[in-house]
């Protein structure tokens, strides 16, 4: 088996992974940084982010306000030390991104322009028309090419963390091209593998978002934190789940029901005066209620409401939202300049993830995490739109700094033991490849998983269906062991990859369902019909899910408060 | 040969660009009258008899032999457009490997033609 050695290994080439790689490479020109990704970095799903990235930029704004908005958005479950660090680093990180060539939209005076976003008191979202993620990812990727000490492993699938002597010292990665395993050793590992929206049927997430990093850490004994909090984005296209950015509302778009009413204004859904600029969880709930009240439209992919941009005019749509125009035209055949766009809430983002401290460090020495896969936590029970791209930058960089420090003070570990673990993993996966026994089909299990998760952990949740979901997912986990794989070729065997991903998804879904069923309150994105209010007395803590062969074992972790006291979350 | 071509590529491209632009603009009227209308007798060829042709092609403006310059351009530039496009046509049909030799030969033809053309104009 090929073995290579680096100072640190970064798993994932999205916004967080690339930022981490650049930080490490720039500060340590002599260090060797491995960047391992299952797709070429520019294909990472950061590419799809549309709206923008938040950081204080205007004179009428300040860090305090950004911090408060974030804490309030998180329904007071976000850690306030992390949030303060986050808002303070945010402007510097976005300025760096600008220096590296990201084509941000501009104001008249040549400064970077900002737009309004849900839950933010003022315009603090930096944008590049409606393709910020694409531009951010490409700017980072292209900038990273400058550093010759970043060694890329493109299209390598990481399926196991190598742990020796209680320290994470590398990864076992399947070279998708050859079908052979490769041991990639480093004195520290950073997971930046993104979210896992593909657990759900309707999602804005791409097919590569299967929660791999969460599953890797989880199996290595690191707890997953706050997994029950899944963000539904209010405006996805029915059918495909393709995102129509929140910036449509930031720029002044309206939501309408089948009566033509702006229901967020006409009825009281608790978003108050913010109406369309309310936070995502609340607007998603409002839409579901609107539909349940019989004021939705019927369509081939279920009921929906409308997002009306017609009053913005063609010029504004073309300059600020050109991608939305294209997406609506291509995927639902609607011209937003003249007609409203059909939309419905879709799964968008996972607030929870690998538990880390403010430095990105996990409980397992040598293992770090950043980006959507991590839970620092600044997002708490509900993320504010445009905070997560900035989070990738801020905590990607922080994790890299701390991982490099750790790496400098650590030893190489026992190479033979580490390679042996990788050999074992290679044998396991080799066994899986093209095993023409077993009765389960990948696509069937995936579909079942999707159905279960939607009914158990939707916008509104009920104890009954959640409990049922827990049982159903546990069953799916045992059925995954009985997958039938047809493809026995080594080269670019995507069936094998899909099988590994499915196993990860099921594992992550189980922690999600179990965490959700346990939280008997309504907080942020977790809305229980049986327990409709927030219960700070009993549930103001982070849910921790630990790996356990029989199913996740739950624990608690204190929320870091101190600056802002919990209060009712009203907009 | 490929390396030499590579070094001269900017110059070649410049000549080609002039060929396609100026060459085309000058050729249209030339072909129309000299190649079609006069031979068909629609325009009397005597309008361009030896004496008048001599006169016309040596017209100068403010001491600049403007007609001769234009004529030189008309003769020389199309050859560069020709050479370059024939070369790319041959590449399109799978001639990437031979390109060094083919290109060199074609541009040599263009160079020889250019010298002949300038000679012809000077000889009027």
């Amino acid at each position: 088996m090929d073995v290579s050695r680096h100072d640190i290994v970064i798993v994932g080439g999205g916004g967080a992974g690339l930022r981490a790689a650049i930080e490490a490479a720039q500060n340590n020109p002599d260090a060797s940084i491995a960047l391992v990704s299952k797709v070429y970095p520019m294909r990472s799903h950061t590419v799809s982010a549309e709206g923008g990235a938040a950081a204080v930029a205007r004179d009428d704004d300040n860090l305090e306000l950004h911090g408060y908005d974030t804490v309030k958005g998180s329904d007071f479950l976000g850690d306030q030390d992390s949030i303060q660090y986050f808002v303070q680093e945010a402007p510097k990180e976005l300025a760096l991104l600008e220096n590296w060539g990201c084509p941000f939209s501009r104001n008249e005076d040549g400064t970077v322009a900002t737009r309004a976003f849900g839950g933010m008191t003022t315009k603090r979202t930096w944008y590049a028309a409606d393709k910020i993620g694409f531009h951010m990812l490409h700017a980072l990727f292209q900038h990273s090419m400058r550093f010759k000490n970043i060694v890329r492993y493109d299209e390598y699938f990481v399926s196991k963390l190598l742990v020796d002597d209680g320290v994470c010292r590398g990864v076992a990665a399947l070279d998708i091209r050859t079908g052979e395993y490769h041991t990639i050793l480093g004195r520290a590992v950073i997971l930046t593998t993104g979210g896992g929206g593909k657990i759900f049927p309707f999602t804005t997430n791409g097919t590569i978002k299967t929660g791999d990093g969460m599953a890797l850490a989880y199996r290595a004994g690191v707890p997953l934190k706050d997994m029950e909090f899944v963000q539904y984005h209010p405006t996805g296209l029915p059918g495909t789940g393709i995102l129509i950015t929140e910036a449509t509302r930031g720029e002044g778009g309206f939501l309408r029901n089948n009566q033509g009413e702006r229901f967020l204004v006409e009825y009281d859904y608790g978003v108050g005066t913010k109406a369309e600029l309310g936070p995502r969880d609340m607007i998603s709930r409002a839409i579901v209620q609107e539909i349940e009240a019989g004021r939705g439209f019927k369509g081939p992919y279920g009921e929906y409401v409308q997002l009306d941009l017609t009053h913005l005019g063609e010029d504004k749509i073309d300059s600020r939202l050109p991608f939305v125009r294209l997406l609506a035209k291509t995927y639902v055949g609607v011209a937003p300049v003249y007609e409203p766009i059909p939309i419905r809430p879709v799964v968008h983002y996972m607030m929870g993830g690998v538990d880390t401290d403010i430095n990105g460090a996990t409980e397992l020495p040598g293992l770090y995490a950043a980006g959507e896969t991590a839970c620092v936590s600044i997002n708490g029970a509900n993320r504010l739109g445009s905070n997560s791209l900035t989070e990738c930058l801020v905590f990607g960089a922080a994790a890299a700094r701390h991982a490099m420090d750790f790496s400098a003070g650590s030893s190489d570990g026992n190479e033979a033991a580490l390679t042996a673990q990788a050999e074992e993993e290679a044998a396991r996966v080799d066994d899986l490849r093209g095993r023409k026994k077993g009765g389960e089909k990948i696509s069937a299990i995936r579909r079942e998983l999707n159905t279960v998760m939607e009914s158990a952990c939707g916008v509104y949740r009920e104890q009954g269906s959640m409990q049922h979901g827990v049982g159903a997912v546990a069953q799916l986990r045992s059925r995954v062991a009985d997958l039938r794989l047809e493809d026995d070729s080594k080269v670019f065997n995507t069936e094998l990859i899909t099988a590994l991903e499915l196993a990860n998804m099921v594992e992550v879904a189980e922690t999600l369902a179990v965490s959700a069923a346990h939280r008997k309150e309504s907080r942020g994105a977790h809305t229980c019909k049986d327990f409709t209010t927030r219960n700070d007395d009993e549930y103001l803590y982070h849910t921790m899910a630990y790996h356990n062969p029989a199913g996740p074992r739950l624990g608690k972790k204190d929320v870091v408060l101190g600056k802002w006291e919990p209060e009712e979350r009203k907009y | 040969m490929k390396t030499l071509l590579l070094k001269l590529e900017p110059l070649i491209w410049f000549m080609f660009g002039q060929g396609i632009m100026i060459g085309t603009m000058l050729l249209t009227g030339w072909i129309l009258v000299l190649g079609i209308l006069m031979p068909l007798g629609i325009v009397d060829p005597m309008n361009l008899n030896y004496v008048r042709a001599q006169q016309l092609f040596t017209t100068s403006l403010l001491g600049i032999p403007i007609a001769q310059l234009l004529l030189a351009a008309l003769l020389v530039l199309p050859l560069w457009k020709g050479a370059h496009h024939v070369r790319s046509l041959l590449i399109d049909f799978g001639g990437g490997e031979r390109d060094g030799i083919v290109g060199t030969v074609l541009y040599l033809i263009a160079i020889v033609g250019s010298v002949m053309g300038i000679g012809a104009v000077a000889g009027i």
Binding site: V47, N99, G101, N107, M145, G206 | G96
Partner: protein, 256 residues
């Protein structure tokens, strides 16, 4: 919704078993709302899980799902299946070595991409250069200056243009449309100072002058980048800098 049955022909190649690519036909019940990619995914999910292809975002932005559809390079997640008749042929991108089925070799492309030095190059690093920044730490750039290169920054690296370009097919060294467009994008960016160096690269091995302005790249580009415009603008700049270089001494190069 009613489906229509179409015959989807997929080009198969497995280096372990096949000497050369072969065709395989599938009968697929197609929904009228489907994109071409949906049909391939249906085959993968329901009919034959050994078919290999790349895709991810299914919203025309990650650039991974380029394939030849009835002989033309297409972004399959953006191309409606309805545009085609009852028989649709899907092949891997033309002009690329084929790794497996619909998967092509990307490393040659990545190499070209990287060789134009696609990052902001400065003669002086940011820290030594504060007068160019405002107090927020960002460069000043007007909307108009942004507009000059914005279009060329929209490339999703889907490589359709490489599949369409006749010169790419025959001249392996040619940098090709997307890579040149990318270099040109940085050249037009007011924050960058690496133009002369990139023009030198443009005159090197993979010379921009190889382009014969077929314009096919721009015809097939799904993102309106118009790489042909970039390539031909780049020729102009490369010639000017070349001429300058004949008479003037060379300015110091920007740091890598």
């Amino acid at each position: 919704m009613s489906t229509t049955e179409k015959t989807i022909v997929i080009s198969r190649f497995d280096p372990d078993q096949d000497e050369a690519p072969r065709k395989q036909e599938y009968k697929v019940p197609c929904d009228p709302s489907w994109k071409v990619l949906d049909a391939v995914n249906f085959i993968k999910d329901e009919l034959d899980s050994t078919v290999s292809h790349r895709w991810s975002c299914r919203m025309a932005v990650c650039g991974s799902c380029g394939m030849m559809v009835n002989g033309e390079p297409k972004l399959t997640c953006k191309t409606a299946l309805d545009e085609y008749g009852d028989r649709v042929e899907i092949e891997p991108l033309a002009n690329f070595p084929v790794v497996r089925d619909l998967v092509v070799e990307l490393d040659g492309f990545m190499h070209k991409f990287e060789s134009v030095k696609p990052w902001i190059k400065r003669v002086k690093e940011r820290a030594e250069d504060m007068e160019n920044f405002n107090e927020k730490g960002t460069y000043s750039q007007s909307a108009e200056e942004l507009g000059q290169f914005k279009q060329f920054s929209m490339c999703i690296n889907c490589m359709l243009c490489y599949s369409a370009c006749p010169v790419v097919a025959n001249e392996p060294e040619f940098l090709g449309p997307a890579a040149i467009a990318l270099g040109h994008r940085y050249n037009l960016d007011t924050r960058d100072e690496g133009t002369e160096e990139r023009h030198e690269i443009f005159r090197g091995e993979g010379t921009v002058f190889s382009c014969s302005y077929a314009n096919e790249c721009s015809e097939v580009c799904p993102k309106g980048v118009d790489p042909a415009a970039a390539v031909n603008q780049a020729k102009f700049g490369a010639v000017i800098d070349w001429a300058k270089g004949l008479v003037l001494p060379r300015a110091p190069h920007a740091a890598d």
